[in-house]
Point group: C2
Chain length 352, copies 2
DNA sequence: CCGATTTATGCTCTCATTGAGCATAATAGG
DNA sequence: CCTATTATGCTCAATGAGAGCATAAATCGG
């Protein structure tokens, strides 16, 4: 186990600011309790019909305060080195993983108190800007124990490609029912019932693949039912089905998956996860992997053709059985053409 | 003019962190050049068919470095006082404006270098988390010169309710054409042509109300054509049509408008801008004000009815001329029911 | 009081999109 | 040759969105 580094003290000079027009606060200074700013990356690739994210294994696996297990690549944002957050993130990813990232998008900024255990003692606050990054899968060459993990290992209820996920029937539904029953009055109970129904498509509403974050937050909330008060909020995350992750990293994963699924429908992001040439079937498999549901093959291709998203290369791929498929490439032109050029994201279909 | 407050020095103790799993950076400390964190609020209301944002008039209007003119409400994020960014923002808005904000959503985190002029001297970096907040219009009671401004005063090319905006024909189109011609080779020229066409719907693509940020960034980029090199990047913002704003505040406005327009279509946000009871016509006017385009009245109402977004109160409103309209209220139930319950956002229609 | 104007509201028609299924073609493997 | 597997073309029905017609109920200016 690594030696704990010494507590570091450093001084900071901040200019008071009379030019910034914050009335009523004009002569106040910038905040006294300074916040440390970090970057967190959700780096995504898809191989063999499995969506994967890049994870870092912690040295101290079972500390019990959320620091154990896998964690997302993270690093400080150094304003002296980087002119923008984006460039800071690209540098961070390059250093930690050696990956060539093809697409980068800011997701959300997290700064909740106690999201990092060391904050409690230190007094400073850790604010972290989360990013989504897409890449073709490739070996990682970074320093440290970095590796690809199945995304659905952390959010198993999100994968409907092989039918109704088992964990919904077993741990999730009973927990939700207990949570519903634990409501004070009938009105509140009805409200909880509706919320659960919508999130998990239990009755009225159909399953909406995009509502990943809502589902995660509902599960996080309900996992506390019947547990010890709220002394260790990380115990909620640990009680969820699926593999645990450090701190609030699973929440970030959920944010990323929801955003990616939503954007798939109107932006041609998939192609940043694919090699330059691919069969239509492979493209479909990648979309299915990300959206977590099966697609109707003919309709999928019809949408591709209608949007002119792809163009044939003329070459054929003949490995494996079945009729050989033509190889296609992405038509870069559509990046600048259609306002909304995405691949189909239909409602859930029954398993084949 | 307010006296410039003295430079403040303060010390900060940060715990080094051996538990946080950033491999290869494990024994590094948190960033040395600490970033100051602020919150910026885009507070929106709609009156008399005009979308308005809350603005703060600067004390030093014409400094020439971007500090002059209007600015968005801004304040430091104090991690000692606030457990979350959201609560910090609500407090900030309450203090500076006295408004009762009904909806709050994080937009984006801005940290580009030189976005704030005082950074250059001070050495610290200002990172600001921008928020969108919706409210019913009401008098502001905050300390300082806070007032409502027409949103389209800052982004005049976004309002198509009264036909093709004049500023597109006069300053914008010629500037774009010059920018296209200034491209090095034919391929690049074609690319620029396409980009401009898509953003402003010049030829092939229709006008997409949601692409507010893309348009702003294109204008910001092209406004530099034919100007002095790039010593003062704020000159680009000043050269744009529409009223200027401090720093990168117009970019934040564009981000907010795009996000709001996009979400209107699948989330019932409008009702946070309306009183408890309203006529369907008023509701339509508010949606038109935000989307910047006219809607087909019958189809608009059909969508409302189909989604069961509203319910009649039985009361009638009879002021002004014309047949009195029935008053409706928002059906709160749909907040939890339909996955996508928004109001119609059709493609652009010719002016009436 | 009348007619012009303004707003509310109901209904229809058409076209594009999309979910779903049928049918056929081309390959590998036994 | 027969079967499994994948590719690909085509049709059909339901839905939703854009556009327009028609009618009802009020105000306003004579």
């Amino acid at each position: 186990m690594a030696a704990r580094p010494p507590v570091v003290e450093f001084a900071l000079t901040v200019n008071g600011n009379d030019a910034y027009p914050a009335p009523g606060a004009r002569n106040e200074q910038l905040p006294r309790a300074v916040t440390a700013v970090g970057l967190t990356a959700v780096i995504v690739a898809v191989t063999d019909e499995t969506p994967r994210i890049l994870s870092v294994r912690s040295v101290t696996p079972e500390r019990g305060d959320g620091a154990g297990g896998d964690a997302l690549p993270f690093g400080p944002f150094d304003p002296e080195q980087h002119r923008t957050l984006d460039s800071g993130l690209r540098r961070l990813v390059a250093e930690q993983t050696g990956l060539d990232v093809r697409y980068v998008e800011q997701l959300y900024t997290f700064a909740d108190k106690d999201r990092h255990p060391d904050e409690r003692a230190g007094g400073s606050r850790l604010l972290s800007v989360a990013y989504l990054a897409l890449t073709r899968e490739q070996p990682v060459s970074g320093s440290g124990d970095v590796h690809w993990c199945d995304w659905y290992g952390f959010l198993p209820w999100e994968d409907w490609r092989f039918g109704h996920p088992a964990c919904i029937d077993d741990p999730i539904r009973p927990t939700l029912l207990r949570w519903i029953d634990a409501a004070d009055d009938a009105g509140k109970r009805r409200g909880r019932e509706e919320r659960a129904g919508i999130c998990f498509g239990l009755d009225l509403a159909p399953w909406d693949p995009v509502r990943v974050l809502e589902r995660y937050e509902l599960l996080y909330e309900t996992a506390l039912v019947g547990e010890a008060p709220r002394n260790r909020s990380n115990s909620a995350a640990a009680a969820l089905p699926g593999a645990a992750m450090a701190f609030d990293n699973r929440r970030i994963l959920a944010t990323a998956l929801g955003r990616l699924r939503g954007k798939l429908a109107y932006r041609p992001l998939v192609f940043d996860l694919l090699p330059g040439e691919f069969t239509l079937f492979r493209l479909q498999r990648v979309v299915e992997a990300l959206s977590g549901q099966r697609l109707h093959k003919q309709n999928f291709r019809r949408t591709l053709a209608a949007n002119a998203l792809i163009e044939p290369t003329g070459r054929m791929q003949s490995e494996g059985r079945g009729r050989p498929a033509e190889l296609f490439r992405f038509r870069r032109a559509v990046l600048r053409a259609k306002p909304t050029a995405g691949v189909a994201m239909p409602t859930l279909r029954p398993a084949p």
